[in-house]
């Protein structure tokens, strides 16, 4: 992501030349938030409704319940899509917030590093769990 772009965006004087690096990254990031957001409205609200409200809600969830769901490719793909989109959406949101509030270049750089490393870890962990799940592990 845009680690190189560590300077705070500032308003250039009207008519002045564009900055050294031309990149549409922020445009794609803006667009990604809206597209992933629409998909996540259905995936996440559906997930919350099934897990917290339907039948016994969270009270009925245990290992056997998870094993039953992940026996179906439909829920595997649902959960994998939701994991990746939600993590990227949240990471990009926090990147925006760090850019807004961390004022020193060094602080901003290291906060974003910490964010990208921890998000990468969570995405890989979740993906690994989904692909290697074993219902007979006990």
């Amino acid at each position: 992501m845009s680690l190189a772009n560590s300077r705070r965006p500032s308003l250039a004087a009207p008519g002045s030349k564009r900055g050294e690096q031309r990149s549409n990254f922020e445009l794609y990031s803006w667009l990604f938030m809206r597209i992933s957001g629409i998909v996540l409205v259905f995936l996440v609200l559906g997930h919350l409704f099934i897990m917290n409200i339907l039948d016994g809600g969270v009270q009925r969830i245990n290992f056997a319940f998870v094993a039953g769901r992940w026996a179906s490719p439909f829920w595997q793909i649902w959960d994998l899509t939701m994991l990746w989109l939600a993590m990227l959406h949240g990471t990009n949101g926090l990147r925006t917030i760090i850019n807004d509030y961390a004022e020193r270049d060094q602080t901003r750089f290291w906060m974003k590093m910490l964010l990208y490393v921890s998000s990468g870890f969570i995405i890989l962990l979740g993906t690994l769990v989904l692909f290697t799940f074993d219902p007979n592990i006990g």
Binding site: V41, T91, L94, I122, I137
Partner: protein, 131 residues
């Protein structure tokens, strides 16, 4: 130049507060997501480890936090759709205030029965099924 910025376009009122709430709910949900992926990863350790941690989600206090989580996600989702309408719908900026009150109403309409059912599940687990 006035020292106190009164009546600026973006400061205060519905526009600013919906933005503040969008950030706070976004951060909260994102940090919960970290925790939630890790607790689910326990299915790779053992059924006992997973069930033990999931048991905390079934306690009354954590059940209240889950109502808060659902409320945060629902606000973020509805306000996100409002932001998309402001960005892409020609009349969006003009009706942003009305849309905010619309989603607040919709939020209440979903959250009242939603919270009721979530707390009922908790109560039934605590005191046994009600008729």
């Amino acid at each position: 130049m006035a020292i106190a910025p009164v009546g600026t376009l973006y400061r205060g009122r519905e526009g600013m507060w919906s933005w503040v709430a969008h950030r706070i709910t976004g951060i909260s949900v994102f940090f919960f997501l970290y925790v939630h992926v890790m607790d689910t990863a326990l299915v790779r350790v053992s059924p006992e480890a997973y069930d033990l941690v999931i048991a905390t989600y079934k306690t009354p206090i954590v059940a209240l936090l889950e109502v808060g989580l659902v409320g945060a996600v629902l606000y973020h989702a509805l306000n996100g759709l409002r932001i998309i309408a402001v960005d892409f719908w020609a009349q969006g900026p003009r009706y942003q205030r009305q849309m905010l009150w619309g989603i607040v109403g919709l939020w209440l309409l979903v959250m009242v029965p939603g919270a009721y059912f979530m707390m009922m599940h908790t109560a039934e687990a605590l005191f046994g099924s009600t008729p």
